[in-house]
Symmetry: C2
Subunit: 338 residues, 2 copies
């Protein structure tokens, strides 16, 4: 078991009284009974409680551990984020402990409590898709544990945040196709009730507006998995003779569409140029390799950790919370290069 400096909270827990009673007993507050005062003061002396060092905080001393909660470890974006987090954290002498919510809000709440129980010095979190209730995050705040949200934030919690500009990523991708001469660009998109579905469609539209290109509504399809491409193969193939570009909301959909078109005699990129979104490992393995938009997962991890460490090192920092917005980057490969 680690040894750590004793805090008001520790004393409260051991003596089974509230932290505020401990705090007031130590200050000889008149509301507190002489018996309780004696108990608390004698105990505090015995365990060498040091009020000056810790009076401002109910938190126990540092564990030099950062807790991370992510939706899905198997997702390449999140594993890139973790690399960024770990590189900054370990370089600063911090350890990293991770929990996976698996897009399940109940598991997320359990994970938060587990990390708080482990007395991590701060928490980095990307919110599960199923989360509707901010109460578990509120508990982190009440525990005086610094928190930084990355990629998917909880709007109700005031905190530092690091996000990527999804709309701008989609605009860049679409602009790339337009700059190469594409005029009829099929978008394979996510459901519009999902934030990335809406933002990436907005970016696609914005690029068209900026280039004074008409948007053909029949060129938007709800199709965002490899399976969707298989199921909607007929619809895609019926549009194929009329298009010169495809922007897909993620890499695996882009690759599946590319393979479908090639099997049916289309040449990529000469006849149809294809761009994805995400820049996972599949983008380099596909043939032709896939142009795409890099989401800067590694940088997100680094930046979130830097922001968290600043808060951990300066618990009394009065500075307002920041939101850092990273711009995705265009990555050009064979699927758009002749």
């Amino acid at each position: 078991m680690k040894t750590h400096q004793i805090t008001i909270k520790d004393i409260a827990r051991i003596l089974e009284i509230s932290p505020s009673t401990v705090s007031r007993a130590l200050k000889n507050h008149p509301d507190i009974s002489p018996e309780t005062k004696k108990l608390v003061q004698t105990f505090a002396e015995k365990v060498k409680y040091r009020p000056n060092a810790l009076a401002l905080s109910l938190r126990s001393s540092k564990t030099f551990t950062i807790g991370v909660i992510i939706p899905e470890i198997v997702h390449h974006f999140f594993s890139s984020v973790i690399s960024g987090i770990e590189d900054v954290a370990y370089a600063a002498g911090y350890k990293v402990m991770m929990c996976q919510s698996n897009e399940n809000d109940a598991r997320e709440a359990i994970n938060i409590q587990a990390l708080l129980d482990s007395q991590v010095d701060g928490i980095l979190i990307s919110v599960s898709k199923t989360t509707r209730n901010s109460e578990p995050f509120q508990r982190i705040v009440e525990n005086n544990t610094p928190i930084v949200f990355f990629d998917r934030v909880c709007e109700e919690i005031e905190s530092d945040r690091v996000i990527v500009d999804d709309r701008e990523g989609a605009r860049i991708a679409t602009q790339h196709l337009i700059s190469l001469g594409c005029k009829q660009i099929l978008m394979l998109g996510a459901p519009l009730h999902m934030l990335i579905g809406k933002q990436r469609l907005d970016g696609y539209k914005l690029a068209h507006e900026q280039n004074e290109l008409a948007i053909n509504p029949s060129l938007f399809m709800r199709c965002d998995t490899r399976d969707d491409v298989t199921k909607q193969a007929d619809a895609i193939l019926s549009l194929a003779p009329h298009i010169d570009g495809i922007f897909a909301v993620n890499d695996s959909t882009a690759i599946a569409a590319m393979q479908l078109l090639m099997k049916n005699g289309y040449k990529i990129p000469t006849q149809i140029k294809v761009i994805g979104f995400g820049d996972g490992p599949n983008a380099t393995i596909s043939s032709p390799s896939l142009s795409t938009v890099g989401q800067k997962g590694y940088e997100i991890g680094q930046e979130s950790t830097r922001m968290l460490l600043t808060r951990i090192s300066n618990p009394d920092l009065a500075e307002a919370f920041h939101t850092r917005v990273l711009t995705p980057e265009l990555i050009v490969r064979e699927s758009t290069t002749i």
Copy 2:
């Protein structure tokens, strides 16, 4: 902060005396001074220490948390293992906390300490490639924390283990090619000082022996990454006219070799059949899709967790340690199906 049953170790920490002094003071041992006895006994009463429940163990009560240390989260095999671990653990009411060693033995040792500090109920670990020293694992044993090694074990520590039979996986893959009529099978293998390099070559050889097929030494190449395939493209292409099958030590090498051959006019699978090893997501995304060997990561995670939970629930279990060996499975896709 969690509330938990107070233990002898807690009392020792708070009062800054050794656990054995606390234990003896509670038993009225004559070696302990009356002052210390009074302090310990009064304190134990105050904090409702329950000797009967915990007398047999210095460990604090359960946190219902399992600690996991894995080499690389980004690796598909390990993320499958994690899914298996979490499904069994959460179903049994346990939380999972993960640390990544990043194949770094120093970081692995730090992670072990962090998990012990968090008082996890048990640890699942796959050893980092750079680990030479068993001392950090010994600390887990000394802490009376149950441990199960999976996939990569530490031979010096007696414990439960779950491993896959790599040689058998390679034998199955090679046998599949032989059964389809292949007689000249190029093996793209890993360095032989690595265990998987040696075991997978052994499996390749065994399949040849079992079929009384001669092994042509010029058909083994040290080539186990996509980059290696690019660098050794000339050598592979010079062998291509003489081979009818390829067994690659992992999927990405198999896919890269397949793409190289197709670009140079070879037909897969009609002229050359290709099989990989691993069954990551790329195997289904490649075109043609890749036949491969599944490593049963999910089952490894499930089985390791079941073994760990058995030890956690039965701390006094006298049963000897087990090693569970899982057999990899053949997965047939387009790259070997005409």
